[in-house]
């Protein structure tokens, strides 16, 4: 797989517990250990860029790419502020972020870089980058999750990022920051009492993990709408991480999958998963929705009258 532009992909959870309170229970510690393992693997990889897609950075005006070469501040989580502050200092690759914007616009997407002092990097991105790339050995960029985007827009976004990688001759580790089931407990719990919110959520999470372990990322992409309906709190229109990850990693099922940890984070499903492109896995894919190369925006079906 020498010509592969993606070294490997990671799927990691956004809550700050593995960063701020890893010893509060055994599950958080196992997640932290999995993050640490991934950190070592990134260090030993040939990647020269880390691309983070964060479900805890919503955008409205198209797709935003973090481009501040020295992104520093002290963040505090809205819910878990009592766990402590999250100081960060990240090195963003401004040129790569700009290249992503150019390629995204070339495929019909609205996109822009974000390069502002004190910009509020989100909890999920801070947790991921602090644990996976603590010394800024590899520059990164963070991609927002547009709250209105659906499948076609997200698929095209992933392809645009592949365009930027290919044209720049770059090799990337892609990091999706997202829970599996995302229903948290709505009352305070002791860390020792943490568990997946419901058996149903746990069942679905474990089925999704089977797909990941089998390297069936494209199949997960096609199951996104079902996953959204079953185990996602309806905060946004769709479960987009699998679409983005599959598209950015090449839209197939040929990966070596490894689930390094799966634990509860205040009731939500937190997993650290690695997918590495391979030459053989579950083989053929079956598209049941159109593949999309260019985003045409709203189709204005209401303006076309009774057809």
């Amino acid at each position: 797989m020498e010509d592969e532009i993606i070294e490997f992909g990671l799927y990691v959870p956004p809550p700050p517990h593995p960063l701020l309170s890893p010893d509060a229970n055994d599950g958080y510690a196992r997640l932290r250990q999995a993050f640490d393992t991934c950190r070592e693997r990134i260090e030993n990889s040939g990647a020269d860029i880390i691309i983070v897609y964060s479900t805890t950075w919503p955008s409205i005006i198209g797709h935003q790419f973090q481009a501040n070469p020295n992104s520093e501040w002290v963040h505090v989580d809205d819910d878990f502020h009592y766990l402590g502050s999250m100081p960060y200092s990240f090195t963003m690759d401004s040129d790569f972020a700009a290249a992503c914007v150019e390629k995204a616009e070339g495929r019909g997407l609205q996109a822009r870089t974000v390069n502002y002092d004190a910009f509020p990097i989100d909890t999920g991105s801070i947790t991921a980058l602090s644990l996976l790339n603590p010394d800024n050995r590899i520059p990164s960029t963070i991609v927002s999750s547009n709250m209105y985007a659906n499948r076609s827009e997200t698929i095209v976004l992933g392809k645009a990022i592949r365009d930027a990688l290919a044209s720049g001759g770059r090799k990337a580790v892609v990091v999706v920051v997202s829970s599996l089931s995302n229903r948290m407990f709505t009352e305070p719990i002791e860390p020792s009492e943490d568990r997946i919110h419901s058996q149903k959520d746990d069942d679905w999470n474990r089925k999704i993990l089977e797909f990941f372990e089998d390297g069936r990322l494209e199949d997960l992409s096609q199951l996104s709408r079902e996953i959204h309906g079953q185990i996602r709190v309806q905060k946004v229109v769709a479960y987009k991480p699998a679409w983005w990850m599959a598209s950015t990693m090449g839209q197939h099922n040929n990966y070596h999958g490894e689930v390094l940890a799966y634990e509860a984070l205040n009731g939500s499903g937190g997993a650290v998963i690695q997918l590495t492109p391979s030459s053989g896995s579950m083989g053929d894919k079956e598209f049941d929705e159109d593949d999309v190369e260019y985003y045409h925006g709203d189709r204005n079906v209401l303006d076309k009258g009774g057809l």
């Binding site: 505090v76 809205d78 009592y82 502002y116 910009f119 009352e187």
Partner: protein, 301 residues
Amino acid sequence: MAKGEIVLGALAPHPPHVVYAENPEQNEPVSEGGWETLRWGYHRLARKLETIDYDVMVVFTPHWQTYVGTHFLGLPRFSSKSVDPVFPNIFRYTYDLSVDVDLSEAMCEAASEAGLITRMMRNPDFRVDYGTITSCHMLNPRWDKPIITISSNRNTHYYSPEVMIEQALALGGACRKAIENSGKRVVLVSSHSLSHRHFVTESPLPEDMSREHIYNHSQYVWDMAIIDLFRKGKMKEAIEIMPEFTEQTIAETEGGGLVWMMGAMGMPEYPAEIYGYQSVIGTGNCIAAWVPQPEKREIVL
């Protein structure tokens, strides 16, 4: 000690565009103006507030989103820079604000006694959300009164709009009780838009008013229906249709701000003062005020 009271409740939308358009010294970006209908409405309401004696402004904001209960600011001072994660090009605001911690703690305790999950926020690094800052800047640009921010517990997402209404009403009642026991005179602020579907593109000049309009006619019609109930003093009816309104217009009422305020104010049956309505990047924004003292009420628009 005299009984505390709510002297005014304001629906105060917080698109950062209105602060951007004002060009205050606290905000880095510079504009050529824009959204005057909203801003001039805010100016008029701010002038009215200068004529009203009050001790503290209590803000319910949908941009401090909490899933484990309702949280309250719990330190006397917060000073930092607020950058809007969605519109960083127009809102990078340096703030230095004071908090009435005593009343905040009293409201938190009263809400807890009412059966709600609550928590005080005492991390000094916490950044106050841009919704709070925008509404407070527009209502009191001198920042010479302490504030309290209450987070928005996302019951609509986790359960349903009906559950959100039930809990927001309980929270409002608890806050009212704490205010009355405090002896303080309080302005309530429900910081949010009505219809809340955004355009996903932005003109090169954000304040280009030739590009600004409501996202679609349905949103406009719904907004007008709700505002009509405001005008007629039919807040019970407004709250009753809130689930459908919220669903049909993706309204920012989903956060519970207006319901909380109406719960605290005892579901007013007198007309609201309307200060303006205008779209901002497609969303519907109304500035309105409810004034309990009849002699202080006026017809504005």
